[in-house]
Symmetry: C2
Subunit: 328 residues, 2 copies
């Protein structure tokens, strides 16, 4: 039985699913609960859903809410961890939501919040692929591309808690239009959204591909990571070519970050890594090595895939909460 | 008369001149000495020159070497501040030079070393354009483009002391070839070297420009910052266009860094800033604002020109030494 007040519940509020882990001080997962994210409701409804999943996880761990030290939530968008506010979560339709205050009112325990990529990187750093590194960069490739920096063992959060927006670094001046309105952001070059755009464009041009067929068969309107993986397994030429190009850009992004931030380790996380592993990470690493400014970094800086999969965010939220409790 | 052991001598070893400042605890400059850098001699000869200029500055301040707390040197290239080694200083022909040990043997006081851009940024942060900011990025535009990050008031040096190599972030995949061998680095797009290449190319294509004439008249083989300034003053169209393009790229670079690092302030330093001031910085700022991901950053993040001019490096070396003495 875990000691009272040593358990923290980590929550990962993703665009498609909402997951809560009850985690003890040894970072062992005592219970996991999840539910689909219902993003169509107002923030208050979704916050009530979070509270419910947290309570279920606590029950499943054989505990009561009064045994819980804190609840720590990762949110897909820029947050203010000190004020406890989500500035913007486009996939949820949130704008300046005081999530900490609202969750506290429902759960009556301390609540912390941060960005999903920040907590994911903290998770991989402390418990996953980045263990042992003091200075680390996380690159999370999904619908968008998110990033996080760990420096001297702690999250580098910048002057307003928003550091790490690597998805919107311009890598190709005058390149393709990005969702943010600019041109040539790495997100417009190498995210799953960019890959889907390029696959559709190639098909429109007459290239043969089974991607749309797989999407139809599996009732998907978007090219998810599992569809990418299936198409590659069936050696779909369009998918292969699009993937190779994206990996090239991600390799240059990784090298840019290594040259500027001088870390020991780069963790490539997100759904595609989870499906493809080294098949995804290997070519990114090869290109990064080409673009390293300091040749010794080829042997020194590890570029590895994330290891915690879907649990990275919730586990990282727990670790970050432990680091922060007492600080504010 | 300054108290014994409170004076530190800061040295900026530039490609063209070597400068030493004797600085008291209030960061007042007691004396300044400089001499041309004779880079053709072996490292030991140049290190003897450093020792000599330091001793002259100390004498000029009315002090003796035994009154000096430390000598702190900024070097144009990657260094290891902990081991006291210069890994590489291409303009000096240095490779793995144990400058700290060698200078100590001549001066018999503690010696510290770091990269010239690192110390320049620390100088601007503590005593110049970045005063009051806790989180700052320095962009130094000259022959190359160097950078430095200040986080929570201290130099962010990465895992090996080499953080900040922003000159070799790729901004334009498959862009022009850079000195480092890659394509599309910002240094190949917007350094003074890149500007000179573009001016020469435009002239070769038949565009009229007075740049080469000014260089000839002033006996310069390279397009220095003062030549850039003169050509702009005479409204040279080629120079104007090349400058405008470089400023556009530097603006995107600044925005990339703001989006990733979330600082309060960006200081644009180096020779061109010193000659042109706001004429150089203004358009960089305008483009950066366009590319900011967080609109509130337009009002929050200052983008300003350096204020310390040629003294930034030596003054920063003094400040950095004060921060580090006692640490190693």
């Amino acid at each position: 039985m875990p000691k009272a007040k040593e358990v923290i519940v980590g929550v990962d509020l993703g665009g498609t699913s909402l997951r809560a882990l009850a985690v003890n001080q040894k970072n062992e997962i005592l219970a996991m609960e999840k539910t689909p994210t219902n993003a169509r409701q107002r923030p208050a409804g979704l916050i009530a859903d979070i509270a419910e999943v947290v309570e279920e996880a606590v029950r499943a761990a054989g505990l009561k809410m009064r045994d819980i030290r804190a609840v720590s939530v990762g949110i897909p968008g820029p947050t203010d961890p000190v004020q406890g506010i989500v500035h913007k979560a486009p996939n949820l339709g949130w704008h300046e939501v005081p999530v900490v205050r609202q969750l506290k009112a429902l759960l009556h325990v301390p609540v912390l919040v941060d960005n999903d990529v920040h907590v994911g990187a903290v998770g991989e750093h402390m418990l996953g692929a980045g263990r042992g590194a003091q200075d680390l960069v996380g690159i999370f490739v999904g619908t968008g591309i998110g990033g996080a920096i760990i420096s001297k063992g702690r999250l580098f959060d910048g002057s307003t808690g928003s550091a790490g927006e690597i998805g919107h670094t311009v890598l190709m001046v005058d390149g393709p239009v990005c969702g943010c309105g600019h041109r040539g952001c790495v997100e417009a070059l190498a995210s799953r959204t960019a890959m889907e755009r390029d696959v559709r464009a190639a098909i429109k041009k007459g290239h043969k591909s089974i991607v749309l067929k797989i999407m139809k068969e599996t009732h998907h309107v978007r090219m998810t990571s599992s569809i990418v993986a299936r198409a590659l397994k069936k050696n779909d030429k369009v998918m292969r070519k699009v993937m190779k190009t994206a990996q090239h850009y991600l390799g240059i992004l990784a090298a840019n970050l290594v040259n500027v931030l001088d870390p020991e380790c780069v963790v490539i996380g997100g759904g595609i890594t989870e499906r493809l592993g080294e098949e995804f990470v290997g070519p990114i690493r090869d290109t990064a090595h080409e673009y390293f400014l300091r040749p010794k970094d080829i042997h020194r800086v590890k570029i590895v895939g994330g290891r915690l999969g879907d649990n990275a965010g919730a586990l990282g939220a727990v670790v970050l909460a432990r680091q922060r409790l007492g600080r504010y």
